[in-house]
């Protein structure tokens, strides 16, 4: 199976739905170990992404991701804006050229996206940031041969849940040191919603 423009649009629309539904929850998570704006930031940004994509006639997956990236960078703010923006921009760069994206190319794009987050945030695995969802998910998907909705769903869920036990060393939660333990990382939870949306939109099409 290849990942089409239609799926790319669908992915972002579904991501937006999940983020809007869980806006308050994401802010509550951020209130516990950050400054309480994560849900508000993400909801504002993804709403703008959907508005931006709406009605455009895209020929390439890369163009969808590029518009999403630019919108996220200019509308989200905070730490998550540049991070998600960079992820989608790197994905767009990796996917350039083809109309639809093969599984291998898709994984390469996700890998570049994850690397972009690490580079922009100067973060690595185990620091209680969204890197702790992106890295393990990419790693597990790399081992598969084709799109697997179940694998995307399960790998992102367990990675997200595992952020609870980490003591933060990056981002606002790092100010709390040991007190950051026992709380989920908000950026990891929103990354999880994005991967859930991906899983939903390829389900039934494999």
């Amino acid at each position: 199976m290849a990942f089409t423009v239609e799926q790319a649009l669908n992915w972002l629309t579904k991501s937006n739905e999940k983020i809007q539904e869980n806006k308050d929850y994401l802010s509550e998570l951020d209130q516990a170990i950050g400054d309480g704006d994560h849900g508000i930031n993400m909801a504002r940004g993804f709403d703008e992404v959907v508005k931006k994509l709406d009605g455009n006639d895209y020929k390439q997956v890369a163009d969808v991701w590029k518009d999403a990236a630019m919108t996220l960078m200019s509308k989200v703010g905070g730490a998550s804006g540049p991070l998600f923006g960079t992820a989608f921009l790197k994905m767009s760069m990796a996917a350039k050229g083809g109309e639809a994206v093969s599984y291998d190319a898709f994984i390469k794009a996700l890998e570049d996206g994850g690397a972009g987050i690490k580079q922009r945030g100067k973060a690595t695995e185990g620091e209680k940031t969204m890197v702790d969802v992106w890295s393990p998910v990419v790693k597990q998907l790399k081992e598969a041969k084709d799109f697997d909705a179940g694998l995307i769903r399960d790998s992102s869920k367990s990675a997200m849940e595992a952020t609870k036990d980490i003591i933060a060393t990056k981002g606002r939660a790092a100010y709390l040191k040991e007190r950051s333990k026992g709380h989920l990382d908000p950026g990891s939870v929103s990354s999880y919603y994005i991967f859930q949306a991906l899983s939903d939109c390829i389900e039934g099409e494999v």
Binding site: S27, G36, D37, I40, G77, G78, A79, P82, Y175, R179
Partner: protein, 328 residues
């Protein structure tokens, strides 16, 4: 929640209109942005100074726009870093040919968004330098420290240096000198409420205080029973002094900053004790600032900032500024 607002989603843009309305002769807004600049920006062949960050810290940052201080301030949503395109607009608007210094507070959001803007500006041939303020001693790890009220001294001194016609490199160097010599610490007695969420940033009992608080309603490093003004001043000053390593004949600038809801009266009680502690140590308070300089919405509490001075810093601190929130 009781707030004087219209639409919670419009507070930042409406506030900026209000700021421009208050100082129409001095400050203007770049249309369709959340960037405000000096009326006469760009000032030819002067290094431009750009600061900014989330809103909710008023008078920071727009109140520090003026001759001798900032050329532009970029306002993000409440407690949220502004986006790179906005910072980029500010850089372009104040570049008078001698380059632009970005004053960034050390939060991952601010650092990333400002860095991306700097990359955009460099790609267009604008000389950009940046300094990262990290004065909050509540965070042990020096590189992880937040930028709080000490940022005002960076604005003041870098701004004054730029007025002398100094190069970007020289302005950056003096800003770094301030950063190396400024330390702050704060305490909160009550949380703040973000307009968009309508909820308090944390729960704090009637008889409790949160020590080591930042300026975003994020919880502090330690929760303690509420103490007296003298005890609060002593605790904050102690941590600041431990980190600054002052000796007998040193001179400092003092800032006792209100976080939004503590009356000036209480800030002066804190200042009284701070002055006493400095006297005891034989440290001279060269200049003292008491008031609201870097707030956290309606949080009750205060922070204490000390800046160790030398001849150059004293002169630049004394030189004129006509910024609405910092006249000297």
């Amino acid at each position: 929640m009781k707030k004087i607002i219209n639409d919670p989603n419009q507070v930042v843009t409406e506030m900026l209109d209000g700021v421009v309305g208050a100082y129409p002769g001095q400050i203007k807004r770049i249309p369709d942005t959340n960037v405000v600049t000096k009326k006469d920006a760009p000032v030819q062949s002067k290094v431009g100074i750009v600061s900014g960050g989330g809103s909710g810290h008023e008078p920071a940052h727009a109140g520090y726009i003026g001759k001798g201080m900032l050329d532009a301030a970029v306002a993000g949503e409440v407690f949220t870093s502004p986006t790179p395109d906005q910072v980029f607009e500010a850089i372009k608007a104040v570049d008078g040919g001698s380059g632009v210094l970005l004053v960034i507070k050390n939060y991952s959001g601010d650092v990333m968004n400002f860095e991306m803007a700097a990359e955009m500006a460099e790609a267009e041939g604008v000389d950009v330098a940046q300094v990262i303020v990290k004065d909050d001693v509540a965070i042990e790890d020096r590189d992880g420290r937040r930028g709080v009220a000490g940022t005002i001294f960076v604005h003041k001194i870098a701004g004054a240096m730029a007025e002398t016609g100094a190069s970007l490199e020289e302005v950056k160097a003096v800003a770094e000198k301030v950063i190396a010599n400024v330390r702050s610490m704060g305490v909160a007695l009550s949380p703040c409420v973000m307009p968009a969420s309508g909820k308090p940033s944390f729960e704090l009992g009637e008889d409790e205080m949160e020590v080591g608080i930042g300026i975003h309603g994020e919880p502090g490093t330690e929760r303690k029973p509420l103490a007296s003004a003298n005890e609060i001043a002593t605790e904050l000053t102690k941590h600041v002094l431990e980190d600054l390593e002052l000796s007998g004949s040193d001179e400092v600038a003092v800032m006792v900053n209100g976080l939004g809801a503590s009356p000036e009266m209480e800030l002066h009680l804190v200042n009284r004790k701070v002055q006493g502690i400095l006297q005891e140590k034989g440290v001279k308070a060269y200049k003292t600032f008491v008031g609201e300089y870097m707030t956290s919405l309606e949080m009750a509490g205060c922070s204490v900032t000390l800046l160790k001075l030398d001849g150059q810093l004293k002169e630049l601190l004394d030189s004129p500024s006509d910024a609405p929130a910092f006249r000297s």
